[in-house]
């Protein structure tokens, strides 16, 4: 900013004016002189003009062709164009700051904060290169709704651009951890939406004449249980859910206790982290069996447990891959099996309730669509479908990451 003002002070308005008369095309001195008189409506002394011309040339803002004086063409240089541009910008800024109410400036600040937040949506590589100049530009620009929308579209465009994605690919184990977290969050979202959905549908009051003679069909049984408005619907899912979660937790504990090879060798305070996780699970498991009678709590407990399991197993598998010498066939196979079985378990946990909810969706279609809790049902159904999709995507990504980890060359001994 300071540099900007210093440059401005050294430039006289007259110099800028005659420079501006040269901007469109190169001119001979005579043509230029006439253009100045025409533009300004004032006559300047030829002596003054030639002094100004010499000054501009000395500063390198104009350059002259090689021809002799009457035919010599003067042309604005790149530097001269930049000086003009800077002066125009300065004028514009002054105009902006003139007579603005303090409220206007406060509002502007809030909008700028919003816009800066949107800029964070751009990929890091893009921001590193363009963010500073973009902010400078936005400070001058009058920001409207379309500007914000355009920035959002721009951010999406840059995110989808493979150029910025390939600049900084995160390490495979980071990707693995992220996908575990994704699966965990999908499951949490699904669980929440599921509970909302269940309450909302229970409130609707269900038609009692569900033609459901095949009582052995689990979907049908679920329907009947919903109509009876009992939370016992979870019992149908419980055995499977519990068995899976218990298998995962047991597997995790076994892995944890396997020995030094499975610790996070490259992380600081890794044993502490593992210990904290272990304690969390030790606290969770007895709770599990205590609350088994109440399926609500089992489901609610399952969500954080699964997130923890997913994150820990993923990180552990990845770090063990780094820590253990790759030559041991057994350990490699064990890691792969653990990774795949856990991810498979996770996805099953997302898909099974998803499939059931689809069966219930069919049931839902039989209801009055303008029932009081229609919005909740609709939103939670959408969330459940989205969560299932997200879990599928994360599952694919984690499989990818495991493959990448597998394919990376072993570290030199």
């Amino acid at each position: 900013m300071y540099q900007h003002h210093t440059v401005q002070r050294n430039v006289s308005q007259g110099d800028l004016f005659i420079l501006a008369c040269l901007i469109h095309e190169p001119k001979t001195a005579t043509a230029w002189y006439e253009a100045i008189i025409e533009e300004s409506g004032q006559v300047i002394e030829p002596g003054t003009f030639s002094r100004m011309l010499a000054r501009l040339e000395r500063r390198g803002w104009i350059e002259a062709s090689r021809a002799e004086p009457p035919l010599r063409l003067y042309q604005i240089t790149d530097e001269g164009a930049l000086v003009l541009e800077r002066a125009a910008m300065h004028q514009h800024q002054e105009k902006l700051q003139e007579g603005k109410h303090p409220d206007w400036q406060r509002g502007r600040k809030i909008i700028m904060r919003l816009v800066l937040w949107i800029l964070r949506l751009y990929p890091p590589a893009w921001r590193e290169r363009y963010a500073a100049e973009m902010v400078a530009l936005l400070e001058q620009h009058s920001i409207t709704f379309w500007t914000v929308l355009d920035l959002l579209v721009g951010a999406l465009d840059a995110r989808l651009d493979p150029h910025y994605r390939s600049l900084q690919p995160p390490h495979a184990w980071v990707r693995l951890q992220r996908s575990w977290k994704g699966i965990g969050s999908a499951l949490a979202a699904f669980g929440f939406a599921f509970v909302v959905w269940l309450f909302a549908t229970a409130d609707l009051g269900l038609p009692s004449d569900l033609n459901c003679s095949l009582y052995g069909d689990p979907t049908c049984r679920l329907r009947v249980e919903v109509t009876q408005l009992t939370p016992a619907v979870f019992n149908a899912l419980d055995p499977l859910l519990n068995v899976l979660v218990i298998i995962i937790v047991t597997l995790f504990l076994c892995l944890l206790l396997l020995g030094a090879g499975w610790t996070f060798a490259h992380m600081r305070r890794a044993p502490l982290r593992n210990g904290a996780r272990l304690l969390a699970f030790l606290a969770l498991i007895p709770l599990w069996f205590v609350v088994m009678a109440d399926p609500w709590w089992t489901t609610l407990l399952a969500v954080p447990a699964v997130v923890l399991v997913a994150e820990s197993v993923g990180a552990m598998a990845a770090s063990s891959l780094r820590a253990i010498s790759r030559t041991n066939m057994w350990q490699r196979t064990a890691t792969l099996v653990v990774g795949l079985s856990v991810s498979l378990g996770m996805i099953l946990m997302c898909i099974l309730p998803g499939a059931d909810s689809l069966a219930w969706w069919r049931l839902f279609l039989q209801y009055d669509f303008f029932a009081p809790r229609y919005v909740e049902i609709l939103v939670s159904s959408v969330v459940m479908v989205l969560a299932t999709l997200m879990a599928l995507v994360c599952f694919a990504r984690s499989a990818w990451a495991i493959r990448a980890l597998w394919a990376t060359p072993p570290r030199p001994q």
């Binding site: 540099q3 900007h4 164009a81 930049l82 363009y130 400078a136 530009l137 500007t147 920035l151 579209v153």
Partner: protein, 105 residues
């Protein structure tokens, strides 16, 4: 000068406009926006402008000069000039053929 109804909207390709704007000398982002608004009436938004600048720069049609006080001026390269000329030639062809076909008789 240019009325709204003749604004080409999304068809006025930002890349072409930027190249045309830089053909008269290096400019910063804001100066480009002003210049483009002045010569063809299209008001580019910063998001669109920088998406196009990033693409042009990657193609080597424009290049960034040294930044001055956060703002970074851009300059058209010789490859960019060739590309601009080629695009303008196509547009000329479109214009002349369009005029021929619109001419009465």
């Amino acid at each position: 000068m240019h009325t709204k109804e003749f604004d080409l909207g999304r068809f006025s390709d930002p890349s072409l406009l930027i190249l045309a704007s830089l053909a008269s000398g290096p400019k910063h982002g804001y100066a480009m926006m002003e210049d483009i608004a002045a010569f063809c009436g299209t008001k580019l938004e910063p998001g669109t402008l920088y998406a196009a600048i990033a693409r042009l720069e990657r193609r080597g049609w424009i290049e960034a000069l040294e930044a001055e006080d956060r703002r970074r001026p851009y300059r058209i390269t010789s490859a960019g000039e060739i590309a601009l000329r080629a695009q303008l030639m196509t547009l000329h062809r479109v214009v002349s053929i369009g005029e021929q076909r619109l001419a009465p008789g």
